[in-house]
Structures are given as structure tokens and as C-alpha cells.
Symmetry: C2
Subunit: 317 residues, 2 copies
């Protein structure tokens, strides 16, 4: 289970062989089922939080926010001009808008498949073996909060199959003003999830996160980090899948704790203004650098799902 090869943040040169077709289908189904189950657990927890706001707090006069669910079909947005015209599958967006605690939170699960363009296939491990064919499923979440005291957050995990198979994912915390105990607890939760699988993982994933979520043109980090990883293929698929689940469970445990820790604190107009400015930086990162966002936009993905991460309101004063 020692994966020292992650250090270079690249796919291992030698991939684990794919299992026989029936077993591979079973793995895909188990992964998709997990992403759906995690989505359901997260949505239920966030809806519970919506009912817990103290009546004296701002927005407590609103109805508790509830997720709206919307299916989307990849074929509806395929574009013959795009880099990847041949894509199938789809997903489900769950969005809670204008809640009491959550200003906008989107949880997207997706399962897509098809062929990459020959040019794009060159960048994807194993796509040479699969002749560009791929399958991908995952869960992706971004939460923008009413209160500037409650950090915004992102979490995503995914399973990819080309001529090889791997997991990727991560989560990062975006407080408006850093609270060191929150940062420490957020990192500790992901560290425990990673350490259960390979003690080498967490330091690598934490640095990867810091490097990835860096707004280069501003010379500043997007948030206080977390973990970011890709190309997990340790040779033990069960363990890799368990890591994926543990990362999801760690998120489900720690983030609601941080929300509940700060949601009853109230805030000033100046803190709200700062939150809107910080959100502008968040939008900059996602539109300029984020690989998932740019991949989605450039390949004719459903813009509503791809851009679900953008803040409900922000400022560039």
C-alpha cells in the first residue's frame, strides 16, 4: 500500500491492469452508488443545518433552504465543434439557493463516458490504450455561505477509467478571515482519512492542494488549503476506493462542525463586503485556472452544472 510514486503528482508509469469486464462494471456501479449515497448524506446534513439557525440571526426569517434536484443529460450539450463531441451520460445537480445559512450550495454527481478527441487524449493517462474511450463518475460540491464567519468550501472526488483506472479528488476551505482552529481541524480530518491508507499521502496531497489553489496573478492562495490528489492507483483498488469514501466521510464530518461552530455569530457590513471581494477571487480562480471548470466549458459541458461553483454574489470594487 505504499505509494511513493505520488510524489511527482503524475500517473504512475505502470498502471494496474484493468479487471475483467464484469468486475470493472461492478466497480463502476459501486463507485457511482457511493457518490450518490454521499450526495444524499451531505444534502440531508445541510438541510438539517438550515433548521438550526437561531431566530435572532440574519436570514432566520427565511424558510429553511431545501435542495432542488435537476437531472442533466450530456447529449443535450454536446457540440460538434467542441473538443469532445462524443460524450454520453449525465448527472444530477442538487442546488440549495437563498437558504438561511447556505447562500448557494451545489452538489453535483455525474457519470459520463465517450471518446476524447485525439488531441485531448494525449494528455490523459491510459487514453492511448483505450483509443480515447473513457468513463468518469464523481461528486463535486461548492458551498457559499450567508455568513462571512462561516468558511466557504469545495469538495470533489471522482473515478476515471480509460485504458487504466484511478481516483482523484480533494477538498479545500475558504474562510473570509482565517480561524486557525478551523484550519487545523479541517486539515486533521483529511489527514486521518489519508493516513488510514498511506502515511505518505497527506503531506503530498496537502502541498498539491496549496500549489493548485493558488491565484498566480494575485500572488495569493485561494483559501487555507486542504488536500488535492489525482492518479490514485495503488494496485489495490479496494483500498483506493476506501480512501475515496474516507475523504468523503471526513468532509461530511468536519465541514458541518465548522458551520455549526460559527453560524450563530452574526456579522458586520464590513465583513460582508470583504466576503464579496474574496468571492471575486474565488470566481477568478475557477474561471481562469480550475481544470475541471475549463475542461467542462471547453468541451461543451452543461454550463449550469459546470459553473455551479460560482458565487451567488461577488464584488470587484
Amino acid at each position: 500500500m505504499v505509494n511513493t510514486g505520488m510524489k511527482d503528482r503524475k500517473a504512475p508509469e505502470t498502471a494496474s491492469p484493468l479487471p475483467e469486464a464484469a468486475e470493472l462494471e461492478q466497480r463502476k456501479t459501486r463507485a457511482k452508488d457511493w457518490f450518490r449515497s454521499l450526495r444524499d448524506q451531505i444534502c440531508a446534513e445541510f438541510e438539517a443545518i438550515e433548521t438550526e439557525l437561531d431566530p435572532t440571526q440574519p436570514h432566520a426569517d427565511l424558510e429553511p433552504g431545501r435542495f432542488e434536484r435537476k437531472s442533466w443529460d450530456r447529449a443535450d450539450h454536446a457540440d460538434a465543434d467542441s473538443a469532445n463531441p462524443d460524450l454520453g451520460g449525465g448527472g444530477e445537480m442538487s442546488i440549495l439557493r437563498e437558504g438561511r445559512v447556505f447562500e448557494k450550495v451545489g452538489v453535483n454527481i455525474s457519470g459520463v463516458h465517450g471518446h476524447f478527441s485525439p488531441q485531448f487524449a494525449k494528455e490523459i493517462p491510459g487514453a492511448d490504450i483505450s483509443k480515447g474511450q473513457f468513463w468518469a463518475a464523481g461528486i463535486s460540491l461548492v458551498a457559499h455561505m450567508r455568513s462571512p464567519k462561516v468558511p466557504a468550501v469545495h469538495m470533489n472526488t471522482r473515478m476515471i477509467v480509460t485504458g487504466r483506472s484511478w481516483f482523484g479528488g480533494g477538498g479545500d476551505l475558504n474562510p473570509m478571515v482565517e480561524v486557525p482552529q478551523d484550519t487545523a481541524d479541517f486539515h486533521a480530518a483529511f489527514k486521518a482519512a489519508c493516513d488510514a491508507h498511506d502515511p505518505a499521502y497527506h503531506p503530498i496531497f496537502k502541498d498539491w492542494c496549496d500549489d493548485y489553489f493558488f491565484i498566480k496573478h494575485r500572488g495569493q492562495a485561494r483559501g487555507v488549503g486542504g488536500i488535492f490528489y489525482d492518479y490514485i492507483d495503488s494496485g489495490d483498488w479496494e483500498d483506493d476506493f476506501a480512501l475515496t469514501q474516507d475523504v468523503g466521510k471526513a468532509f461530511l464530518d468536519i465541514y458541518p462542525k465548522l458551520v455549526r461552530r460559527h453560524m450563530q455569530e452574526g456579522w458586520s457590513d464590513a465583513e460582508r463586503e470583504w466576503q464579496l471581494v474574496k468571492r471575486g477571487l474565488y470566481a477568478e480562480f475557477n474561471l481562469v485556472y480550475d481544470r475541471g471548470t475549463r475542461f467542462g466549458l471547453m468541451t461543451g459541458g452543461n454550463p449550469e452544472a459546470v459553473l455551479m461553483s460560482l458565487p451567488p454574489e461577488c464584488k470587484w470594487p
Copy 2:
């Protein structure tokens, strides 16, 4: 003066020879002086508009907005890691914030020079001849308005020198809800400016604008267009420079007229909401597609100047 070669939107295969050094320096100085003079005229006109708001209108209680000017030096932001570490020069940002009529308007003039990286040089006409050396000056303007009834606008013109020399630029109108007479008048102003130099120009520049300011992932135009052009090198530098001036003058004539036409109309909360959503699309375009913005960000430009175009407030609900 017939420039049929613009049709393919590429630099002409055969460039006009550069003049001798003294003459080239004179041209650079004249262009820079014009950009500065245009900046001064535009700022004066916009400040005049700020004093004309009817006292019954929203925001009339504010002081008339005034431009703040700030110089920036390219060297302060050069980054050894960037694609273009060797850049000199700088510019002046003029920003009017939280005015009565203008919510945020930035007018930037710049004059930069240096060497492109070998890789980037390949994309720039004439950079092979100049061994990557370049000089560029220009004016760039984006106005975001208080009133959703007053269209937002962008205008930019520039002169570039590598182993050849050319002009580029354009302007486009971004109403929240289109007013056909405004659109017609905006197009007519630029058409007159172009027709004075080559009747072939306007239809080409108008289509180029429509194609350029298109938000592909949304399948919709950013605004109602205007003109967009590049690589103007007709063989008559004086005429090309006169075109650049005429485009600037056309903007200075028509845009203030459109502002005055609508600034006293008032608006509803729903219209303001729609304005904030449309501005989100504007930010998406600039951060995802705009060549100038991405060039500036990727080459370590001053982020404040490069991102001056972003809306003061926007929404992705």
C-alpha cells in the same frame, strides 16, 4: 487604401517596411500622445455626466464621481516564472468608483516594451524578425453603470511594433436589455469612422466583433456588438493612425449620447437583478476568453489594471 486582406482576420503576409528609427520613434510618440489625449477627453466627458444626474434619480445624493489616477510600472510585476519576464514600461489607470451614474469605469493607458518568450513570439506577427522584441501602447476602457437602463461599454485601441507595425482595437456595447435605436446608433458611429478609411472595413470588423465577444459555453453573445479589428497595416501608416483616432472619437461622441439618453429613467429592483446576472456573464467572458485579459494574467501584468474590466458587483444566482 483598399485592405481586402483583412477578410481572413490575419496579419497580411507582406508587412509594410518599418520606417527609419527616428521616424518610428516619432510615430510611437504620436500614438502614445493620442491615447493620453483621448483618455483625458473621455475622463472629462464622464465627469461632466456625473454632474448632470437629476436630483430625483437614485444615487443623486452622492458626490459626483471623480477619476482617481494611479501609475503602474511593468517592472513591479514582472515575474521570472512568467512567460514574459523581460518587460518594461508601464501605464496609468484612471478609475472612477461609486459615482452617481458610473458605478465603476476604468480607463487605462499603457506603453510597454520588452521581449516575448520564444514560444509566445511564434504567435505574434513580426516577432521572428525582431527576435521577440516588441513595443505596444494603447488605451482600454470598460464602464459599468449604476442604471440597468444605461448600457455597459468597452473600447480599446492599440499600436504594436515588432519587426512590423500595426493597429488593433474595437468597441462593443453591453445593454442589459437591448434598445434597438441605441444599437443602431452605436454601430452607425463606428461605421462612419471606418468608412472614412476603407468601406470594406466595417462589415469585416462588425462580424469579427460578433464572433469575438461570444460566450461559447453559454451559446450567447456578450452584448450587441460593435467593431473588433487587429493587424491594421494598410501601407499608409498615417491613414491607419487616423482610423485609430476616428474610432476613439466615434466612441467619445456616441457613448456619452447613449448615457445621457437613459440616465434619467430610473429602474426597478428586478432590472437591477438582471443587470447583476448579465454582469456575471461579462466576467465569465473576460476571465475565460478575453485575449487581453488572459495575456495580462499569464504574463504577470498588474492584476489591478488587467482586471479593471471586472464588474463592481455581479451575481451567479
